[in-house]
Amino acid sequence: MVAASETLNPLATGWFLENAWLIPIVPAIGFALIIFFGKQLPKKGSEIGVLSMLVSLGLAAGAAYQWIERVSSASYEQFVEPVVRTWSWWTIGGVDLTIGQSIDGLAVIILVVVTFISTLVQIYSVEYLHGDRRYTHFFAALTLFSAGMLAMVIAEDTILFILGWEIMGLCSFMLIGHWWEEGANSRAALKAFFTVRTGDMGLLVGVAMLYFASNEWTTENLGVSGFSIRGISAWALSGEPNSAVITVAAIALFIAAIGKSGQFPLHTWLPDAMAGPTPVSSLLHSSTMVVAGVFLVARLYPVFYTGLDILGPGGNFITVIGGITIVIAAALAFVQSDIKKVLAYSTVSQLGYMMLGLGAGAWLPAVFHIFTHAFFKACLFLGAGSISHSASHHSFDMKKDMGGLRKVMPITFTTWIISTLALAGVFPFSGFFSKDEIIDNVGNNGYTIFMIVGLIGAFMTAAYMTRATYLTFFGEARGASAGEHDDHGDHATDHGHGDAHSAHDGHGESRGPRESGPLITIPLILLAVLAFGSGFLNATPFGSSWERIKVWVEPRPAVVMEVAPSGPGESIGLPAAEGHSDTPCGKEAPAEGYCFAPKLEHAKFKWSKAFLSLGIVFAGIVISWLLSVALYTRRSKALVGLTERNKLLGAGYRLLVNKYYLDALYEQVIVKSIVGPIARAAYWFNQNVLDGILHAVARVNRAVSGWLYRNVDQRVVDGTVNNSGRATKGLGGVLQPIQSGKVSQYGALLFAAAAVAALVLVIINT
């Protein structure tokens, strides 16, 4: 037992931590500047975008550095309070709505990831979208997206969280439909928006439920409203919540995460989102926006922990969805010929891993996987963009326009290979340290079936990536990669450079595929380095001293006695005499004080388990390589056309090509059956009821005004005026004879008046 009188260290804080709210402000200002001034600038606004992201990156790096110091300044078991600053922006009916930042380890790691990848993508886009028809607006939307995501990450309250979430959705729509002149692109953008929106209903429901359920407890105990994320976390672990309420809230929030992070069944929008420019795919739809759902679960983890009984026996909603997603997405990646779609399904599958980890109580491995996945997935997407930009002439079709590119594009090839190995989870690349940890912890926490699912997923990941790599970089050059690039009409997605053809030097003289320029390759190299090295930040196999991310990011499940209501807090009380291992957080309500994070299990690393997963991965690579060579290069008779000959395989193939008919289900059945009748009813209502009301009002108006005109205006008003004139004239006519000029008459009047006056006087005085 820790001595009861042990006081806690005051936590270090610093300028970057206190002012981390600037991190989303800078890109927001950048967005405004680009909108207003971008077109007049020499580089059409891209310099503002890059600059604002660099500034944000600097701020985020500073915040990360100071957070690490803060963690170091705490004692081993002390709960490292997040750096909180809030401002009240509206008070209504006793409810004080605040906006503010809450910077803890999770926020810091995601801030660094988002700002870093955003900066690289902005630099990449300067070259990639050069000469594009809406260059300035692209950078504006990209910057606004970063502002929105960063706002969501630092958010202290669920309102700001929702605001950032929605801004991201808007920017995703704008960016996917960047070349909206082609119908497919705008349809994809709409599909993305609506599918995510369907999930967003869960977000609103969940936030509202959590507010109403927790507000009383949080205001009483912590002095914050039910919108505060810290407040909700403490409430969830306090034993207060009604289990039905918190379960429903957790499920509602997870539905939002399903939509945003492309989990089954709302994953259908992600592959279609590849219609947007490649930088967008690499920023939004691989490393940053799609992890917003994972971030939501990680941020409000106590809600899910309590609501879905995460460390309890049996599976739960999150693990089931995550597991299903891993497998179905990986299966779909096998039948794609568009390289970006392969990467998209791969992203969906990896997101499934993250969700699986969170659902199984492997919080830190899932967050760490966000970290590593961002680097190697962004690198893969940017590599695909590099290929399309410089080799396959804007085509992403592996079978038609790629092949044998490893000789012509060495940098792209090398970075691609590094990232693929990382994605597959090969030691010592980063994916090994993160993905294997997930699988390990899932199994350790008792979800054995899901561990097996994870291993199967690892096999499939290695296999389809090998297939894609083979088709792209090995074998013979086909189509545009071979230098043929005539009819541009074929290029479906990504080709919108109508006005940029002049920018492509030497179109007439076909220069053929070549390596891309430095603005493209340098980000690739940087990301590949990180794809290799970022794993070492939390290399559990090497011992706990290598587990830096765990120390810095994972919230400690210590009981906090007193909480400062806002501002940079220090734990100014004693921990309830329990150490790390004895804390009640997560298992039961603390007797006094508050818990902000549940106690989680960590699997002990064993090399034997690692060898198993590595073996599976190698098997996947080798088998896929052999099959690819046999099918695509040697065109072996046994394999070519197999799916057409074999009925079972053919049915399976068709199922995969049609994406499990889910799109058909959603669009044809659900949407049409809802939209059609509703649209007709709305039209009927509009035409008959609304327009009817309008017409009736107009008719009444006309009648009334006509009546008013005839009776009031003409008769009364004009009558008054005219008649007053006539009366005056008449009166004048009547009075005129008095002024006759006749003296005798004047005299008569005079005397008559005098007589009357005299009479009156007499009568009065008598």
């Binding site: 005129q736 002024q739 006759s740 000029g741 006749k742 003296v743 005798s744 005299g747 008569a748 005397f751 007589a755």
Partner: protein, 99 residues
């Protein structure tokens, strides 16, 4: 003698004079009617002088007579002038101040 008998006589003369001013067309006749009025006033003054036993009424009456004389002189001068210009002294015709 009643006080009222003189006063009534004066009143009757006054009213007749008023009627004459109103009804008469000839300017000279109108002046004559005015003389009637003035005389009625004089009668009133003298009657009150006797009633009150003071000579103030006499004095006033003398002044009235003097003023009346002056007024008739001037008035007739004007009538002559009008006659010379218009060849008529019918008041009805002298209506330039009409309107």
């Amino acid at each position: 003698m009643l006080v009222n008998q003189f006063l009534f006589l004066a009143a009757i003369l006054f009213c007749i004079g008023v009627y004459g001013v109103i009804a008469r067309r000839n300017a000279v006749l109108v002046l004559m009617s005015i003389e009637l009025i003035l005389n009625a006033v004089n009668l009133n003054l003298i009657a009150f002088a006797m009633r009150n036993g003071s000579p103030d009424g006499h004095t006033f009456a003398l002044y009235v007579i003097a003023v009346a004389a002056a007024e008739v002189g001037v008035g007739l001068g004007m009538v002559l002038l009008i006659y010379r210009n218009r060849k008529t002294i019918a008041l009805d015709d002298l209506s330039e101040m009409k309107g």
